[in-house]
């Protein structure tokens, strides 16, 4: 059996209508690439700083509202020690997180996510430029903040407290949290920044005992019993990935985009299915003749499926090419956008798979055509 003989000749003969259909699939593929890029970009903007933490789980305040744990949680530094003692824990350290507004001495206004870490702990970050944190009142900032015109040596003044932080280094790559650039600083400076301490204020002792969470790093390949740790330290643990949902806007953004993408796949499968339904109905007379001549159902199904595969692969390739071109252009702008190969490859496979499935359901009608209708007055 050589169903490609007929399939390819029909494709070429009806190239006008196949091209129209292909254009729709190509546009869907363009949209798919752009949405995938936007989705990856928003995830980066939302949680890239968290993804880069060398952390396996975070222990937040006991009974904290899990959807906004990063902004609501307070734990005392006393909770760190019980976590350090848990079996399978390689390291545990206090971790502070808060959003602030600031202005540099050169007048650049900037929103920052302050990550407070104990100097020398496993959270204390490496820098790409400048030097690592060496004391209180210093920050190292995300490379993406540096792009906004903040350089090593600048001083950032927090508003409204007036607290001053000196930029001593920049981190490698994008570190953002909730669409805001991250600045690492010592835990003590973070505690003062969070409490809004102004110069000369009397600071109550409890301020220096507080952090947002206990950051926990498991042994390599080790498993930490989070429930046991929570019981010992009176905390609520989330794995690092689960904690993404606790960062501002993350769940709403990703679920919206996923919903749009799901609709896109469904639309594409339905459109391809509808096209092949109409095509098959139009070809009913021809199919009856071919069946009467002895073409098997399998031959005709393979013939139509081959057409759908050629249509989908060619138009998806064109669409992805155009989408990547547009994506490169969008990446150069301020938009949160990141072209990542795996999500695009996965989305492409889904698009092709669902498209072929839609076509398959449509061309199954071929099996219901009675070759008898090729004869006599039935036509």
């Amino acid at each position: 059996m050589k169903p490609s003989f007929l399939a390819l000749r029909e494709l070429s003969f009806a190239r006008g209508r196949f091209a129209l259909m292909g254009a729709v699939v190509a546009l869907v593929a363009v949209l798919m690439v752009l949405l995938s890029g936007l989705s990856a970009g928003l995830v980066n903007d939302g949680v890239s700083g968290l993804q880069k933490l060398p952390v396996t789980s975070l222990a937040f305040q006991h009974d904290v509202e899990e959807s906004s744990a990063y902004s609501r949680s307070i734990v005392t530094t006393d909770a760190v020690e019980p976590w350090r003692e848990q079996p399978g824990v390689a390291a545990a350290a206090p971790f502070g997180n808060t959003l602030v507004n600031g202005r540099t001495d050169s007048g650049v206004e900037i929103d920052l996510a302050l990550f407070g870490v104990e100097l020398g702990s496993f959270l204390d970050p490496d820098v790409e430029d400048g030097s690592r944190l060496a004391g209180d009142g210093e920050v190292v900032i995300s490379a993406s903040a540096a792009e906004q015109g903040i350089d090593v040596g600048d001083t950032i003044v927090l508003e409204p407290s007036g607290m001053e932080l000196r930029v001593v280094g920049t981190l490698a790559g994008q570190h953002t949290f909730g669409h805001v650039d991250i600045a690492y600083l010592s835990l003590r400076s973070w505690q003062e920044a969070r409490a809004g301490v102004r110069a000369g204020d009397e600071v109550p002792d409890r301020v220096y005992r507080e952090a947002t969470a206990v950051a926990v790093q498991a042994d390599d390949g080790g498993n930490v019993d989070l429930a046991a740790g929570d019981a010992a330290a009176k905390t609520t643990s989330m794995t690092l990935e689960d904690s993404f949902g606790a960062s501002p806007g993350y769940t709403a953004e990703t679920s919206t985009l996923q919903l749009i993408q799901a609709f896109l796949y469904a639309i594409s499968a339905l459109v391809v299915g509808a096209f092949f339904t109409v095509l098959t109905i139009q070809r009913r007379g021809e199919i009856a003749v071919l069946r009467a001549m002895g073409a098997s159902k399998r031959y005709l199904l393979q013939e139509s499926l081959l057409q759908s595969v050629v249509l989908l692969v060619v138009s998806a390739a064109v669409g992805i090419g155009v989408g990547l071109g547009m994506g490169v252009a969008v990446s150069a702008t301020e938009m949160p956008f990141a072209l990542e190969p795996w999500p695009i490859a996965g989305a492409t496979l889904l698009l092709l798979g669902l498209g072929v499935a839609g076509a398959a359901v449509a061309v199954l009608r071929i099996t219901r055509v009675d070759p008898l209708t090729a004869l006599g007055g039935n036509r």
């Binding site: 059996m1 003989f5 007929l6 069946r291 009467a292 001549m293 002895g294 090729a374 004869l375 006599g376």
Partner: protein, 224 residues
């Protein structure tokens, strides 16, 4: 030697109970290789049903249908597909060609349906039906008679033992109709094919070896 086509006491009914319609009523027919048999009769007399039964498109309600040594009644659907592909050629009303294919590809098409047996050369066959000069034309660029010639070449490419022809002249003028039937007669005689042709057209019967008449599902000798 076996006859090419043997129908014995074939009855075909549609529906059941008081609604029963008898399309073929105890029909027997033997067609020898190299014989062109015409079947005439009014619309609804059962001519198409006879082609459907002989062409393995329908299983009769009772009786036996044999194609050479193959029992078509006992054959499974897949085997009937293979019999139609390898041993039966169909010529349809107005050709019924595939719009996307050129004349030579129409003739090649049946070879793609299954294992290649001893096919005839498509270009040679087109030359035999007088269509080699238009081998690259598609159906919409051909006249009705030309389409019918290509259809005949398509039906013969697999060297069938049985050729079933359904109203071949219905879309043609008188002269072209005569030419087509003369071509069918020549192919039948030269290649030893058993040909059964259903027609309304009494003007073409002189080319046929035998003429039978169908009336209300019964087959009888045609009285001119």
């Amino acid at each position: 030697m076996n006859a090419a086509l043997t129908l014995t006491d074939v009855t075909l009914t549609h529906g059941d109970g008081p609604e029963t319609v008898t399309a073929l009523d105890d029909v027997s027919l033997v067609v020898e290789p190299g014989e062109l048999v015409a079947i005439v009769g009014p619309s609804g007399s059962g001519k198409s049903s006879l082609l459907a039964v002989a062409g393995a498109l329908t299983t009769p309600t009772s009786g036996s249908v044999r194609l050479g040594d193959v029992d078509l009644v006992a054959a499974r659907p897949r085997e009937r597909d293979a019999v139609r592909r390898d041993r039966i050629g169909f010529v349809f009303q107005s050709g019924n060609l595939v719009p996307a294919l050129t004349a030579v590809d129409q003739v090649r098409l049946p070879m793609t349906f299954g294992r290649a047996r001893e096919h005839r050369d498509p270009m040679e066959l087109l030359a035999e039906v007088g269509m080699d000069h238009k081998a690259r034309r598609r159906p919409h660029e051909l006249s009705g008679g030309e389409r019918q010639r290509v259809g005949i070449a398509r039906a013969l490419v697999t060297r069938p033992s049985l050729l079933l022809v359904d109203e071949p002249t219905s879309a043609l003028d008188r002269q072209r109709g005569q030419d087509i039937v003369a071509l069918l007669a020549r192919e039948t005689h030269e290649h030893g094919v058993a040909t059964v042709m259903v027609t309304h057209d009494h003007g073409i019967l002189s080319h046929c070896d035998r003429v039978l008449e169908m009336l209300d599902g019964r087959l009888g000798v045609h009285v001119a």
